[in-house]
């Protein structure tokens, strides 16, 4: 007869099992396979050849890889702080006694649940260089040299970043709202008694109390930022030139359009390492901040 503890553990494992088995087969397995494939060369049909570190050497001189790396970092660094601050700002606004705040919350959250493809198509229409709403308004305001947005060397990344922020801010706002509502009202009362003003309340109560929420949001935003592909694909297709070419886009290109599965896997490992390092740094930072 199994001991009670054993039985409980078994029950627990059996609940985790379905998800874990699925995870192993469809995620963990392929990831390990990709790790191995990174040291090989394979085009999908011909035999797999071992090539050692050759893929990484090629990566060093692949100008598109470096452009993709740079763009991915630029994208992430742009999206993370802006989304976070905007989400926090909106959450603070829509947590107060505002008339119709439920409606506004829905409006802000709606892009997150709307179909990505539909949103991107509409975004491209609004930002269309020739007949889009944005340029019509700018034209009416007398702006010369209207930017060509998604088709413009200087503005393409901005267009993609703006789209991402607009699409996601609702989700992070909801998370912040939940965090805000978890802050005990007594803290604010005590602060009022001590004569604290609005900004001081935010600085000494709201912000520190929200730290776990902020930490979670920043991690999620960072990881999603590095993994970005679908938005870039839909708004600019990586162009013009290599202005919005991001790592996952380049990996997809090399894997499925050029059939270089080994090289693509090597780049995927580099992306994995990058995300891992950044996440570890964030975790360490959080611990330090918590102890200080």
């Amino acid at each position: 007869m199994l001991s009670r503890k054993r039985k409980k553990s078994l029950v627990a494992y059996s609940f985790i099992a379905p998800n874990f088995i699925g995870f192993s087969i469809f995620t963990l397995g392929p990831v390990i396979y990709a790790f191995i494939l990174a040291f090989h060369s394979w085009n999908g049909n011909n035999p797999i050849e071992f090539v050692g570190l050759e893929n990484f050497v090629i990566m060093g001189s692949d100008s598109r890889f470096w452009a993709a790396l740079k763009n991915t970092i630029v994208y992430t660094v742009s999206v993370v702080p802006v989304t976070m601050m905007l989400a926090l700002g909106l959450a603070l606004l829509l947590n107060a006694k505002v008339m119709g705040k439920e409606i506004f919350r829905t409006i802000v959250f709606f892009p997150y649940v709307a179909s990505l493809v539909a949103c991107a198509a509409v975004w491209n229409i609004i930002f269309s260089p020739g007949a889009g709403l944005v340029n019509i308004i700018l034209n009416a305001l007398g702006v010369e040299n209207l930017p060509r947005w998604a088709a413009d060397k200087q503005w393409a990344m901005f267009t993609v970043v703006a789209f991402s922020i607009w699409k996601d801010v609702g989700y992070y706002m909801i998370i912040y709202l939940a965090g805000l509502q978890g802050i005990s009202g007594e803290l604010y009362e005590a602060a009022s008694l001590d004569g604290a003003g609005g900004i001081q309340k935010f600085r000494y109560i709201t912000w520190p109390q929200l730290r776990p929420t902020t930490f979670f949001i920043v991690i999620m935003l960072t990881i999603n930022g590095f993994k970005i592909y679908d938005r870039v694909m839909l708004i600019t297709e990586g162009g013009p030139g290599t202005e919005t070419l991001v790592l996952v886009y380049h990996i997809y290109d090399k894997a499925f359009k050029s059939s270089q599965f080994g090289y693509a896997s090597a780049m995927a490992i580099v992306l994995f390492a990058l995300v891992l390092i950044v996440t570890l740094v964030q975790f360490k930072g959080e611990k330090k901040y918590a102890n200080s």
């Binding site: 469809f26 999908g44 049909n45 011909n46 413009d152 060397k153 013009p240 290599t242």
Partner: protein
């Protein structure tokens, strides 16, 4: 009470595991069919002992796939053909992904471009066709260009070439004479500039180029009698400069805007405010179908003329492309598949293709007459002459050993030049450099 709880938890666990397994199976099917997410399985007939799976694109807008399958099945009642539509946009990528791992989800595949063709041959996916059973005379030069190391891997179902589409109403409005079948690139340039109207709200574009790299690069190759697989791309400079100037002066639509808006070339021409368009003869068939559906009310009188040629050479050189029919080596029904490929890519298939207004691979004078007599086909004397006078076709992407890699370099270089990231000189240097790197 405790026993009941235990039974309940066990039942729940079993239910979850069963669901997960079912989900796994469905998931596996989903992953297998991931490439065919957008595919619609068009089953043309049931019954029959041998089932052939045929990969195509745009089964709904390309009107010849189904009739060819139906005709073959009516002649061979023991065969049933299932058409699988992989979509036009990423057809070659989806096809390559589906065929990876040497599985055979299809028995017969349509080949959309040279790069895909060469790539599939080098991966060992396509089967060599028995050349003793091919009636080579019906193809002329078209078939020769498609051999690989002296073997046949595909039969051309369609063999298209580029012509100059022109909108008669735009010419009338601008008071410009219609194009002739003997225009140099300079004359073409001057003509399209005179058609252009840049007034905001009523823009008229003298010409339209689709975003494909070979629309410009192939123009250079055809004009200068060069093979784009051979590097040394300085000859492309005057052509790029001409097009870039046209783009600046709004004689044609801006490349970057076209890329992000995804405007289709027939859609653009169908809007009725484009004077000319250098495009392949397959667009004739597409225009006819869409006009019949009433999609382009603003497009009235249109016809085709010959592709422009370089000053000092004769008219008759133009760009072209093929649609091939091939057999997948790993298929379980290779003999029947090969027979179907010979049917579709041969004279029988040619008749059906021609009856829809598309240029077949197995061309003959009779087949050409069939094409001309399709209602809606521009069958005026000049258009006919433009089509009959084609002497040399330069493939959009020529067939050669380094076809796939060169194609990537050319596509990237084209994008850099047309988006303004690089000037035409810088872009050409870039392409030359990348080409030399390949040779090492």
């Amino acid at each position: 009470m405790r026993n009941q709880k235990r039974t309940l938890s066990l039942l729940l666990i079993m239910a979850i595991v069963m669901q997960m397994l079912a989900g796994c199976a469905a998931g596996k099917n989903e992953t297998q069919a991931a490439g065919t997410e957008n595919a619609e399985k068009v089953i043309v007939a049931d019954g029959g002992k041998t089932e052939l799976k045929w990969a195509v694109w745009s089964a709904d807008t390309q009107p010849y796939w189904e009739p060819i399958a139906k005709e073959y099945m009516s002649r061979n009642p023991n065969v049933s053909i299932e058409i699988i539509d992989l979509g036009a946009t990423d057809y070659s990528t989806a096809l390559a992904t589906q065929l990876a791992g040497n599985k055979a989800p299809f028995d017969v595949v349509a080949i959309k471009d040279s790069a895909s063709y060469i790539s599939l041959i080098t991966k060992g996916v396509l089967m060599q066709l028995d050349d003793s059973k091919i009636n080579k005379d019906s193809y002329g030069e078209t078939l020769d260009v498609l051999t690989w190391q002296d073997q046949y891997y595909t039969l051309p179902l369609r063999s298209d070439f580029y012509v100059m589409f022109y909108n008669k109403d735009v010419f009338d409005k601008a008071g410009v004479a219609y194009p002739t079948n003997d225009m140099t690139f300079e004359e073409y340039d001057a003509m399209v500039k005179s058609l252009t109207d840049t007034t905001f709200g009523t823009e008229t574009y003298g010409t339209h180029y689709h975003t494909w790299n070979f629309c410009i690069q192939g123009m250079a190759a055809a004009g200068e009698d060069r093979n784009t697989l051979e590097g040394d791309y300085e000859y492309m400079k005057p052509y790029y400069d001409m097009v870039l100037e046209q783009q600046r002066e709004k004689v044609c639509m801006d490349y970057s805007t076209l890329k992000t808006s995804g405007l289709h070339y027939t859609g653009a021409f169908g809007q009725g405010n484009i004077g000319t368009m250098l495009m392949g003869t397959w667009a004739i068939g597409t225009l006819i179908t869409r006009i019949n559906e009433g999609q382009y009310p603003d497009l009235q009188e249109w016809a085709v003329a010959s592709y422009p040629h370089k000053e000092g050479t004769e008219s008759g050189s133009t760009l072209g492309n093929f649609v091939g029919m091939s057999v997948v080596k790993a298929s379980e029904h290779v003999e029947i598949a090969e027979d179907f490929v010979r049917f579709a890519g041969g004279e029988e298939g040619a008749k059906i293709v021609a009856s829809k207004g598309y240029m077949p691979g197995a061309m003959s004078d009779d087949t050409l007459e069939v094409v001309f007599s399709v209602p809606g086909f521009p069958a005026d004397e000049q258009s006919k002459e433009a089509i009959l006078n084609v002497k040399k076709i330069y493939l959009e992407t020529p067939i050669g050993e380094n076809c796939v890699e060169v194609d990537q370099i050319l596509t990237t270089g084209h994008d850099y030049i047309m988006t303004g990231v690089m000037t035409s000189d810088e872009g050409i240097s870039y392409m030359n450099e990348e080409f030399t790197k390949l040779k090492k």
